[in-house]
Amino acid sequence: MRVLQSLLIRIFYAVVLLTAVLILNFSLMYLAPGDVADTISQSMGGADKEVLDQIRADYGLDQPFPVQLGRYVGRILHFDLGYSFFYNDPVTKLILERLPATLLLVFTAQILALVVGVVLGVISARQPNGIASHFVTMLALFGYSAPVFWTGILLLIVFSLKIPWFPVAGMQDVTIEGGFVVHALDVLRHLVLPAITLASIFLALYSRLARATMLETLGSDYVRTAKAKGLAERHVVYKHALKNALSPVVTLAGLQFSAVVSGAVLVEAVFSWPGLGTLAFQSIIARDTPTILGILFFSALVVIVGNLLTDLVLRMIDPRLRGRGA
């Protein structure tokens, strides 16, 4: 019951926060000079003054600020994210078309980073001064410090151009014919490079944290006891130590979830991955306020869901948390 209560309180705060953020962003977008009519005219190769005025009138951009804000908030309260000026489509439709691609990329990258990060962390913790450990440290340093768009282009040059294993852009090859399995494999092939690119930053974080917590746990009394009991090394490391070392990593992963979502924006841009990131990037350039705010809304939703999932996972691996409310 307390779990449910705390969940409801959280959702309430999230809704309040989200509304405030939307209003703030709407105001900021309004304050910026120029508007979407300018970018529409850019995509048209120029337009006469009367056309520009017509576009502004069509989308209500000629109205005073309070009227525009009022209309926007009114729509939001009816769960209507509005109509994209730039794409001529309802924002909700645009976003729902793009959401699956982003979810696929974000969750794949997050899981990849977690699993590989933890494995690498454990390997390097078992022999803190071995060659493997130094290698992991270097890899982590590289992954964390290299900008994702650079890593992405580097991977493209190596694995799409020099060794053409993976496609350059997009999520599917439309010329491929075949059933579900063929298409699924095709999507998977397109997913490899973007997922590795996005995972590279977080892999660095997780592997460093896993290494540190594993080192600490491996030095603790109960591990020594387990070893003294004569349990196999492998058993001690994976059954006793890892389970305890894992929960800080999962907590961090939950905290980083929003960072993964925002990191996806850049990765999607490099790989032309047809997700929310590409849409966000282009809408910002186009000053398409309803779409930008709509994406903000959905990304916040994804982060909230991601955090809730993290909580659930934490409860699974750490029984001590199960009784608690928060």
Binding site: G34, G45, G46, A47, V51, L161, V168, V270, S272, I285
Partner: protein, 525 residues
């Protein structure tokens, strides 16, 4: 009256012969899927309500227009098998082909022409294209007569390429004319009479078209399918051309990409085919502000800015020289105008003359704007170049395009880098920059505040002059004046290139880039 008709027929016969001869040398192959690319997401696939190069490519495949142009700027029959302009220039008669049908099987009739003119007049951003067209009469199903209020030679180019998509009235005429702008069938279930029909438009991913079997030109198109992938990232597009994922792409202007791909075996890279698009780069100067009001100051700036450096170093040899507001590939281009080879002495003496003496190594301050990151090297170069003649230039960055567009539209700038397109006839894309009744009306209007009554007069005359030679003479005078008065300093063409693999036969290298039907393009075996 018959003159035009006969001429048109002779030209088309000659062309057919040439095409036949060509076919013997290299037979077009039927079939195959051409993979091409769009650099951004099209807002709409309906060219009747919006222009722009990203919409141009799909719309020219989906919708047919009355005319098409060959690479020598000669109009060719398309939906109109012949046409006729009356001697007074006030009546333009289009005789439509009899066998044209829309993708849903309905015939293309003169009523659709009349409807499309109405839609374009109400929705298309280029108001000058059809402004003089008062009514369209439809004496029979296959004859459309455009009645004009004044002679309008620009109409010919405006009836070609992506500028005049013929829409089926029975589909797009179901609501008010203005509502066609946001018609749901602009992006899905699009119906035109062009060589290809729409299979799928997936926002952010691709546009897929397939061969329209009942296309009115027998045996065409050659391709079975066209895939237009949407890849906004330049680096990703470069790699995709290089590793063969893309067969063809157009409107590529990044010098690094162009030069890199020129070295790749099996790829052709050409700047041909953009004459009617007519993209020009220039240095805009606000003739209503401060020292720039004085033409001697503007000339001094031109003498200090080295075009050669911009073309050779900054554009890495990809861009061509341009000297006037008309694109060098246009038949109206006149190159024998005043030019400004670097001459710092002359620049300094002009500034002295204008009453801006050098004091402690400085004469006065100016600002320079730019609207997109790609042209930052140009404005940084202008800053360095003008320092040499004592003009301290401050580079003003804009947060994004709309910020810059607003500054330009309200003439809140001293100098700016700018790129403007000709869009076919000078009336459509050139006049707007120089006529005095278009001052300060938004971005890409006469943002320089330039006013010269003789220029206004010449351009007004050129707009209605039906005689091609006289018209050319008028534009010649116009170009001479603006090269002398420098409301903008013309530096170079925007180096659009078409990139295609050796597998592509007969790529579109006419005057409209890919904003033209590619029914003659094929894939070699």
């Amino acid at each position: 009256m018959m003159k035009h008709l006969v001429k048109g027929m002779i030209v088309s016969t000659v062309l057919a012969t040439i095409a036949a001869g060509h076919a013997l040398a290299d037979d077009p192959v039927r079939g195959g899927t051409l993979i091409t690319v769009l650099g951004s997401n099209p807002r709409t696939l309906n060219g009747a309500v919006q222009s722009g190069i990203v919409t141009g490519y799909p719309t020219a495949q989906l919708f047919a227009s009355p005319l098409r142009y060959d690479e020598d700027w000669t109009p060719q029959p398309y939906l109109a098998e012949s046409w006729d302009v009356s001697d007074d220039g006030l009546t333009v008669t289009l005789n439509l082909v009899k066998n044209a049908v829309f993708h849903d099987g309905q015939p293309v009739t003169s009523a659709d022409i009349a409807f499309s003119v109405e839609v374009i007049k109400a929705n298309h951003p280029f108001k000058t294209m059809f402004a003089p067209v008062e009514t369209v009469e439809t004496p029979d199903e296959h004859t459309a007569v455009l009645k004009l209020s004044r002679p309008h030679p620009a109409l010919m180019l405006a009836m070609s390429g992506q500028l005049m998509s013929i829409l089926p009235r029975h589909i797009y005429g179901d609501g008010p004319i203005e509502a066609v702008k946001t018609h749901p069938r602009n992006n899905e279930n699009v119906v035109g009479s062009g060589p290809f029909k729409l299979v799928e438009f997936k926002n952010g991913e691709h546009v897929i078209l397939e061969r329209f079997d009942d296309f009115f030109i027998e045996g065409r198109p050659y391709l079975d399918k066209i895939v237009m992938r949407i890849i906004p990232d330049i680096a990703a597009r470069t790699i995709a051309y290089e590793n063969g994922e893309l067969h063809m792409g157009a409107f590529e202007s990044n010098p690094q990409m162009v030069n890199r791909l020129k070295k790749v075996d099996g790829l052709e890279v050409t700047p041909e085919g953009y004459g009617a698009i007519g993209p020009l780069d220039w240095l805009a100067m606000n003739t209503q502000r401060g020292p720039l009001k004085d033409v001697r100051v503007r000339k001094a700036i031109a003498y200090a800015v080295d075009k050669n450096f911009i073309q050779k170093a900054l554009m890495q040899g990809t861009a061509a020289d341009s000297r006037t507001g008309i694109h060098p590939d246009s038949p109206f281009y006149f190159r024998e105008v005043e030019i400004y080879d670097v001459d710092l002495e002359k620049a300094n003496s002009l500034l002295d003359e204008a009453g801006f003496p050098m004091q402690d190594g400085k004469r006065f301050d100016l600002t320079i704007d730019f609207g997109w990151p790609g042209v930052k090297p140009q404005v940084e170069y202008v800053r360095a170049a003008l320092k040499k003649i004592g003009i301290a230039v401050e580079v003003r960055a804009s947060a994004d395009f709309p910020t810059w567009a607003k500054r330009m539209g309200e003439m809140d700038f001293d100098m700016s880098w700018d790129t403007v397109f000709n869009w076919g006839d000078p009336v459509i894309g050139v006049h707007r920059t120089y006529v005095s009744d278009n001052v300060g009306k938004g971005v890409w209007s006469n943002t320089q505040g330039y006013a010269n009554s003789r220029v206004d007069e010449i351009l007004a005359l050129a707009a209605v002059e039906s005689d091609a030679e006289k018209r050319k003479a008028l534009y010649q005078e116009f170009q001479t004046i603006i090269a002398d008065e420098l409301p903008v300093y013309h530096t170079n063409t925007l180096p659009y290139h078409t990139i295609y693999s050796g597998k592509v036969g007969n790529p579109p290298l006419g005057i409209w880039g890919t904003s033209t039907p590619i029914d003659m393009t094929y894939l070699k075996d």
